[in-house]
């Protein structure tokens, strides 16, 4: 934890984006997490991504649950909306907010405890429904706030700081998201911003439930030999299936690429994801194959990262429900309460 505020002074050559903001304008308060926490790197990646996408901070809502990870929305996008919900209940609160105002960008920030234990049901259902959001699971395999017990994502056989061996099977957030119908599924590592920042940008541009499982070492309780969520382990076992470059809508691709090694995915908003294939046979549009590949590689002890699955044509909750385009707060009383006659008509349909 740090007691002095980060000085307001910044590098004289710090670039500004289209809105005239510097990257520093997307920061939040100074982090109170342990020094070296992977979560702080993820916050920095979020800041970088929002800066690069020229996002107006007031268009973003950050929602979280409980835990180290769920504290982080305080540490980025200080000018955005935030809601710190009940433990594991971020997905329902976010779904409600999204239904009320579909014009916002929703960042759901959670961790392995908040998502894979107490909030597992919520996680599954918001994937099923295709809530238009970025779901970031800051995954360190350990309960940091309660001093380092194994969480539900800790690998079987991995070692706690005190020496205990985990006997339980892990929940793999990525496989679960795929099974539950998420339409953008990726895994990354807090220590690799080159991979993480474009993934966040592509996830923000995605319509539907976008899940980012980000391995984020807990330097205090889970960064030792025998841990499978440590800096060293992830660096040694990181197997990236692709390298991606996000091109926002209305920007032309100018760089040539070799066919067969690069794939371009166009999302519904016109943005492009250029994927350099690091595993030539990996196809991120094939969900079944992705699931199989993940099982195989993870059995071999590897941590598969990159954009694992994308359905660029996905529809979200609003389309499933056929809701109106306007946010509820932009509609007048007559539109929101069409009156007794309309109620009678609707009720009549069910009689």
């Amino acid at each position: 934890m740090t007691y002095i505020a980060k000085p307001k002074l910044h590098h004289p050559g710090l670039p500004t984006n289209k809105l005239g903001f510097t990257r520093r304008d997307y920061e939040g308060r100074i982090s109170t997490l342990c020094a070296g926490c992977g979560h702080d790197s993820i916050s920095a990646a979020l800041i970088q991504a929002c800066f690069e996408l020229d996002i107006e901070p007031h268009r973003v809502a950050k929602l979280s649950g409980i835990g180290c990870s769920s504290k982080t929305p305080d540490y980025f996008l200080g000018q955005s909306h935030g809601f710190n919900s009940v433990h594991g209940r971020m997905p329902s609160v976010l779904t409600g907010a999204n239904l009320a105002n579909r014009q916002m960008i929703y960042l759901g920030v959670s961790g392995d405890g908040d998502s894979a234990s107490i909030g597992l049901g919520q996680f599954a259902h918001c994937m099923r429904r295709g809530v238009n959001m970025v779901y970031i699971c800051e995954n360190n395999g350990v309960y940091g706030l309660t001093k380092g017990q194994f969480s539900a994502t800790a690998d079987k056989g991995s070692k706690a700081k005190g020496g205990a061996i985990n006997p339980d099977s892990p929940i793999d957030m990525v496989s679960l998201a795929l099974l539950m119908g998420a339409t953008f599924v990726a895994r990354s590592f807090s220590g690799d911003k080159k991979q993480l920042v474009p993934l966040i940008k592509a996830a923000i541009a995605h319509r539907g439930a976008a899940v980012l499982d980000v391995i984020s070492p807990c330097v205090t309780f889970n960064n030792h030999a025998g841990s499978t969520k440590s800096f060293d382990f992830v660096r040694d076992h990181n197997e990236a299936v692709n390298k991606l470059d996000f091109v926002p809508a209305k920007k032309e691709i100018t760089v040539d690429y070799e066919p067969g090694t690069t794939e371009v995915v166009r999302q519904h908003d016109g943005s492009l994801i250029k994927l350099a294939k690091l595993r030539p046979d990996y196809d991120p549009s094939d969900r079944t194959a992705a699931l199989t590949y993940l099982q195989e590689r993870e059995a071999a002890g590897e941590v598969v990262t990159g954009l694992l699955y994308i359905n660029a044509e996905a529809k979200d909750l609003h389309e499933h429900l056929n809701t109106v385009d306007a946010p509820l707060n932009r509609m007048n009383e007559d539109e929101l309460c069409p009156g007794v006659d309309m109620l009678e008509t609707i009720n009549g349909e069910y009689r």
Partner: protein
Amino acid sequence: MSSVSAEGRASTPAPARRAGMAPTDIANPNYFHKVVDCQWACPAHTPVPEYIRLIAAGRYSDAYMINWHSNVFPGVLGRTCDRPCEPACRRGRVEDEPVAICRLKRVAADSKDDIRDRLPKPAAQKNGKRIALIGAGPASLTVARDLLPLGYTCVIYDADPFAGGMMRTQIPKFRLPERVLDEECGYILGLEPETRFGQKVESLKAILAEDYDAVFVGCGAPRGRDLDVPGRKEAAEHIHIGIDWLASVSFGHTTKIGKRVVVLGGGNTAMDCCRTSRRLGGEKVDVVVRSGFAEMKASPWEKEDAMHEDIPIHNFLVPLEFTHEGGKLTGITFEKVKAEYDAKGRRKLIPAGEPPVHMECDDVLVAVGQENAFPWIERDIGLEFDEWEMPKVDPTTMQSTHSKVFFGGDAAFGPKNIIWAVAHGHEAALSIDLYCNGQDVTVRPSPLVNILSQKMGIHEWSYDNDVSLDLRFKVPHAPKELTLKDVNMEVELGFNRELAFKEAQRCLNCDIETVFEKNLCIECDACVDICPMDCITFTPNAAENDLRALLTAPAQNPTQDLYVSDAMKTGNIMVKDEDVCLHCGLCAERCPTGAWDMKKFYLETAKAHTCSR
């Protein structure tokens, strides 16, 4: 204080690598010294951030003593220094203006307690060596200060009846009150040198014939350059050489001047001449300069002060002739010129092709430069002069080609300023001490260096790392209506303690160095994420120019070093661009393993009296 400490010693030299940068050798004191921009830029290498922190802590006497040891005249310099430290100050690269280092020094001098019991005492035992010091200005007094406590007998000669040299004769009292100069010259005279004041040295040969073990020449650049244009002789009564005129004012011989005065020249002497004229009856005082405003040699703040006293500065005018009537000056005619630059960027002043300008005036002060003059040094005593009639002096040892004779101050390399004179004095004293002990003067002793962690607790540092956002504070001035009436009334009032504290808080503590230990680093990026100035990057190694371009924030200031580590586990190296680091310590505070530490670097240059033998 220990000598070069064992801490922070660099790892063994890395094996040759492919075109990448070698790890920074932080065991070389020059590396961290250079990071302390102000101290590095100061000719006397005063440990600036250390004394600024002491001022913030209200420890004015301690701050004064650090200054006194290093620059000998803190009260004088706190009012008159040319401040090479301020353009170098890192704060000036981070926001608009540097820390007001010079005027903070004055606060230490003005607010200190009686420090006389902290000064060295006259040597209890003389060592039998006799040194002649020619001139009683800042260079000679520094030599005397360094040598007297060691037991040397120092004999100081000066043509004037007082100590101080140009500090007394050329700097007006409204900038430097006499009591300040007397006090600080007094500290040196208190070490009991022999003084031969009022005695002009006419022959170096005669001095050498006396029983001296070494001679130090610190006689300044005592001759003001004249302006040889038509009318000079005829109107001579009302044309004065600037530095001579200032000296005459200083000693009370001159007390008034005509109502309309023209000052020729664009240096600090010209500024002193015009401001003094305003106080001695000059109602319409004009400064006329050959060059453009920006190229004038005067310090920006001296130009400002002159203009504040309603003195216009006219540029690009070259004097053609002094006009006179019946032997009395009536004015000056100038030719208008313009600047033109050749392919090599050299400036040439060429006629603008406009009719000449005539300025009426009653008196002219010529302040177009100073020259050295050594008519009293015989050319057959083994002391060589160069083609410009300057003595050949070694810039490190200050020794001339006559092994017994040393030079310093303006006498050595032409007109500079007080702080350079002090720096020369220290080096010359060191050389004289080595010489008198039969040692090689070219083997210079190492500086005293200390580097020590400032970590006191998990989040506690022994310095205030919360960076102030205040802009530079202005030094209050006495009202112009009063100061223009009295040539001895000091214009600047100096910072009061409250302002001094706030200004001191603007200092970035550049001497609290960021020290990186690569073996502890786990490459978690925490320092990269937190650094407010984007100074730190972890990257594969490359040649310096390539590295500079690919950093988080490209390092575009080639005068500032890159701090580079050896390769780490991932093969990456740590690169820190020193340029705009705030020394806030957030990298160290956010580092989970203590790979970054904030260590205070203290360097004191070797001096004759600190090198025990």
